[in-house]
């Protein structure tokens, strides 16, 4: 489809006399390519790459007879004309520059995020991401330490396997302390990623052998230059990290920021053996744990498909070794940067953004085409004289196309600063933290150039064709002002499409705006107003065993509940929307056939009260020491899944070989995202499910959030050395979770505004021009006694007709854009009639105003003057 369209487009470039022959040849060639592909011939070009060659071919035919002199002459002449009309040139070039710049800017984002692998990774296409999944529950999860070791041993098709896990590190001492995001990495990490040291050496397998025995650190180039002034003498010296001296052994090359494209970029790397988990905790031995991300590199000569097939064996080995999860699977995905789930989202988002800026480019092109047409009207006599003097039609088209090309070139140059600025602006407004940089590389410039050429073709060809039609000569001969019926019709079409496209954007912006508003008043199943949360990490201190940890948490709960301004406090291992999410397998007792990975929520006392989650049936969970039995609360989604039509209270669920009795059913909570359906969830009492990572939730009195410093004070009062990283306001987090929708909403609103202004100016110009052409007729009508109102109606009617047609086109555009935006909407349908009608009414009113002004002016024509002028 695309290929045929491109071929048709290229065909337009050929000289008319040889077009038929050209088309026939390319049709046959394309047919031959299809046939060869079907028969499986090797070494064939891609369809798109092959058809791309049609453009140079067509251009060659077109320019065959051109001499350098005539081309230069055209360019000089075009330059002179553009200089002579500086207003037109500036407006047209700037409008186009906006359209082209917006496209290239968004492309630079897509390029950095989707097309380009993280910087500094050698041959990223030979790397793979390794993940854990289940036949019964497809997912993309990370591994336990023993599983990583097993994969390293068993995956023969991978030349190397590496694990990494992010964490926050306190670098420095006293007031000089800085929290830096870094990664624990296995000794194979830098080798697998193919990174070479900028200074010193990087972590090697020998640095990752003995628990706690390798206090060495590799710094990122950024951290090294920012904090240590790029001092090469730093290598070999020690720096304090988390109260322990670490020897700096090397610095990574500039640009390298780990193997992920989304998330806070790591600034230092430490061997996994330094992980505090080796201080006696179970994490490293437990098969069921899930904490380390795994990547690998394909062995020499092994294809991705071969490696993928070999993972079946690895999965089988893992099942034997772990003796749990009969249906566990080891999956790999090609490349690094985005995992498959992220990649799908990033691609969807990219498509939406590119679609929107594509529409903007269309609007700007139609606008400039319209301007050029209007201007061409003034040049009819020039064209007619030159044609009368013997310039052929194709020669005239060439001259006009040269002008368009020159204009497009100017606009493309003017778009460069926009693209450069986007490199720093886009990551800041983008709803995710990007660890890749969005800078303009060769690919972005190539895209910029291609967009410029496309824009030139879009806005240049139509006017050229219309202006150089034979009727230009007739126009000259007759000296009349009505020689351009084609032109007028073409301008009508252009304005209609402009109005339609901008209506589409306006409706899109309105849909997104309503989604953001809906999210503010959404009912997420818990009460976010006045709710704050802060993460407590007892694990990394290494000072708490399960008993001491539980005692600390009980004390913390008691202190926090008593603190001033606090209505209620609790502890849980995850907070809705904002993080800490984890799931675990659970099934109804005695039912081997029905299992599900439900939200795994470990909760302390007063949980449901603090979060405002209603208990629908049964009772809530009690305090730390008050639940001697293994009991749980489930949510409604789980209850209806496991025991449809029955009472859930009194039933039992099975997890990890133990039975838990259901004592209550809670309302559903949007645990992960506002847009997703609530997951089935099981709430376990902290008394029977100790975790050293808990989140303190505090609900303030009267819906006011408690002071963050007060919360820190409560924690510090119990253990001054325990780091409190940040306090999350759940209400803000909920709003922030609609970040994508909001960012894109603003972007679309901005472009919609721009497009609407352009479209309305176009309509205004069209109606003015129409009125000007009919000055004589109007003069006669006035002389004959027509009333001004009837004249206003006469002229206005045409403008309104065009606006209504535009609204019709706009409906189609809106429907298309709405379905593209579907994933970002919340609480409003993609084809929401109210939004569509509202946007249409706004559009029609503005359009009517734009048509009314020139109509009113025309009705005041002085009959005597207009007739005398003729």
């Amino acid at each position: 489809m695309l290929v045929r369209a491109l071929l048709a487009l290229a065909g337009l470039l050929t000289p008319a006399a040889r077009r038929q022959e050209w088309r026939e040849e390319w049709a046959a060639e394309l047919d031959a390519l299809e046939a060869a592909r079907a028969s499986g011939t090797k070494g064939l070009p891609t369809r798109l790459g092959f058809v791309a060659g049609a453009f140079p071919h067509a251009l060659w035919m077109r320019t065959e007879g051109w001499t350098m002199d005539s081309v230069l002459h055209d360019v000089r002449y075009a330059g002179r004309l553009l200089r002579r009309a500086p207003g037109f040139t500036a407006v047209a070039a700037l409008t186009l520059a906006l359209g082209i710049g917006a496209n290239a800017s968004i492309f630079s984002l897509v390029n950095g995020l989707v097309l380009r692998a993280p910087a500094g990774v050698e041959a990223p296409e030979r790397m793979v991401q390794v993940a854990r999944s289940y036949e019964s529950d497809p997912r993309w999860d990370n591994f336990s330490w023993p599983a990583l070791q097993l994969i390293g041993r068993e995956a023969r098709t991978l030349s190397g396997v590496a694990g990494y896990q992010g964490g926050a590190f306190a670098v420095g001492r006293g007031i000089d302390t800085e929290r830096v995001f870094g990664e624990y990495v296995t000794g194979s990490y830098f080798d697998v990623a193919g990174v070479r040291p900028h200074v010193g050496r990087l972590i090697q397998p020998g640095d990752d052998v003995e628990p706690g025995g390798h206090p060495v650190v590799v710094l990122s180039h950024g951290l090294w230059t920012r904090r240590y002034g790029g001092d090469p003498e730093l290598v070999g010296r020690t720096i304090p990290i988390g109260n322990q001296p670490y020897e700096v052994i090397g610095v990574t090359p500039p640009g390298f920021s780990g193997v992920e494209s989304i998330g806070t970029p790591p600034q230092l790397w430490i061997p996994t053996m330094q992980h505090p988990g080796f201080g006696g905790q179970l994490v490293f031995e437990e098969w069921g744990a899930s904490w380390i991300d795994v990547v690998g590199r394909l062995a020499e000569g092994v294809s991705f498909e071969e490696a993928e097939a070999s993972m079946e064996l690895v999965s089988a080995r893992l099942r034997e070794a772990a003796a749990v999860h009969e249906d566990i699977l080891v999956l790999i995905a090609p490349g690094v940067g985005l995992d498959p789930e992220e990649a799908v989202e990033a691609r969807q988002l990219s498509t939406i953004l590119l679609l929107i800026v594509g529409v903007v480019l269309l609007v700007t092109c139609t606008n400039v085409a319209n301007l050029s047409l209007a201007r061409a009207t003034g040049r009819r006599s020039e064209v007619a004289v030159r044609m009368a003097l013997g310039a052929g039609r194709s020669r005239m088209i060439r001259q006009l196309v040269t002008e368009s090309a020159l204009l497009a070139a100017l606009a493309t140059l003017a778009a460069v600063p926009i693209v450069l600025a986007a490199g720093s602006v886009l990551p800041a407004v983008f709803p995710y933290t990007l660890s890749v940089s969005v800078h303009a590389d060769t690919r972005v410039y190539a895209f910029l150039g291609a967009t410029g050429v496309l824009a030139g073709l879009l806005f240049g060809l139509a006017p050229a064709w219309a202006v150089s039609r034979r009727d230009a000569i007739v126009a000259l001969r007759e000296g009349s002002a009505t020689g351009g019926r084609t032109r007028t019709r073409l301008r009508d079409v252009l304005v209609v499409s402009q109005l339609g496209l901008s209506l589409g954007l306006v409706a899109g912006a309105a849909l997104l705006g309503r989604s953001v508003l809906n999210a503010r008043t959404a009912e997420p199943g818990f009460e976010p107003v006045g709710l704050s949360a802060t993460a407590i990490d007892l694990f990394s201190t290494g000072r708490y065993d399960a008993e001491g940890g539980a005692a600390f948490l009980a004390a913390l709960h008691a202190e926090a509940s008593e603190a001033p301004g606090v209505r209620s406090a609790t502890l849980a291992n995850q907070m809705p929307i904002a993080g800490g999410h984890s799931r675990a397998s659970v099934r109804p007792a005695g039912r081997d056939d029905l299992g599900f990975e439900a939200e795994y929520v470990v909760v302390g006392p007063d949980y449901f009260e603090t979060l405002g989650i209603p208990i629908v049936r049964g009772r809530a969970l009690r305090g730390f020491d008050d639940e001697p039995e293994r009991v749980v609360v489930v949510n409604e989604a789980l209850a209806s899944m496991f025991w449809p039509g029955q009472t859930a209270v009194g039933q039992e669920v099975e997890r990890g070989g133990e039975r838990w009795r259901v004592v209550g059913v809670a309302g559903d909570v949007q645990m992960r995202s506002l847009r997703a359906r609530p997951n089935p969830a099981v709430y376990y009492p902290a008394q029977h499910a100790y975790s050293p990572w808990m989140i303190l939730h505090v609900s303030g009195e009267g819906g006011r959030s408690v002071d963050a410093d007060m919360l820190r004070g409560v924690v510090a009062g119990l253990d001054p050395a325990l780091p409190v990283t940040g306090v999350t306001d759940l209400h803000s987090a909920l709003t922030a979770s609609m970040g994508e929708t909001r960012t894109i909403g603003w972007l679309v609103a901005l472009f919609a505004g721009l497009a609407m202004v352009l479209a309305v100016v176009g309509l205004y110009g069209l109606v003015s021009y129409g009125a000007a052409e009919r000055v004589r007729e109007i003069g006669i009508r006035i002389a004959l006694g027509a009333r001004p109102e009837s004249l206003v109606r006469l002229i206005l009617a045409r403008g309104i007709a065009i606006a209504i047609l535009g609204v019709g086109v706009g409906f189609a555009v809106s429907l298309g854009l709405g379905s593209a935006l579907r994933g970002l909407l919340f609480g409003v349908g993609q084809n929401d009639p109210t939004t569509l009608v509202g946007a249409s009414v706004v559009m029609l009113s503005v359009a009517a105003l734009a048509a009314w002004i020139p109509a009113r002016r025309a009705s005041r024509v002085d009959a005597a003057v207009s007739l005398r002028d003729e």
Binding site: E24, E25, A28, P45, V51, A52, A54, W60
Partner: protein, 104 residues
């Protein structure tokens, strides 16, 4: 012959040498992009080094596909190719390591 032929032209002439060929065959056998092959073919045709003829309409219809445009060398083209090959071999010999490489 206004100018000696470049490598691109010679490779295309070489691809056509042993009979007739249509564009895709030249693209696949030379490995050059279609955007280079077709314009060069046009130039060679204009310079009289290759000529093209359309396949018989009925023959194409029998195979149920559009008719192809075949290219073949003209005597001038064959001569130009021989001349170019000689020139290139001389250059290659000059560039070979060790004083112009093996001679005779």
């Amino acid at each position: 012959m206004p100018r000696p032929l470049g490598i691109t032209s010679l490779r295309i002439l070489g691809a056509i040498r042993d009979g007739v060929a249509y564009g895709l065959e030249i693209v696949t056998s030379t490995g050059m992009p279609s955007g280079t092959v077709y314009p060069t073919l046009g130039r060679l045709k204009k310079g009289g080094l290759v000529r093209s003829r359309w396949e018989d309409q009925r023959a194409a219809e029998r195979e149920g596909r559009p008719r192809r445009r075949y290219y073949e060398l003209t005597p001038d083209g064959a001569e130009a190719l021989r001349d170019g090959v000689r020139r290139m071999s001389a250059v290659a010999a000059d560039l070979a390591p060790g004083h112009g490489g093996p001679r005779g």
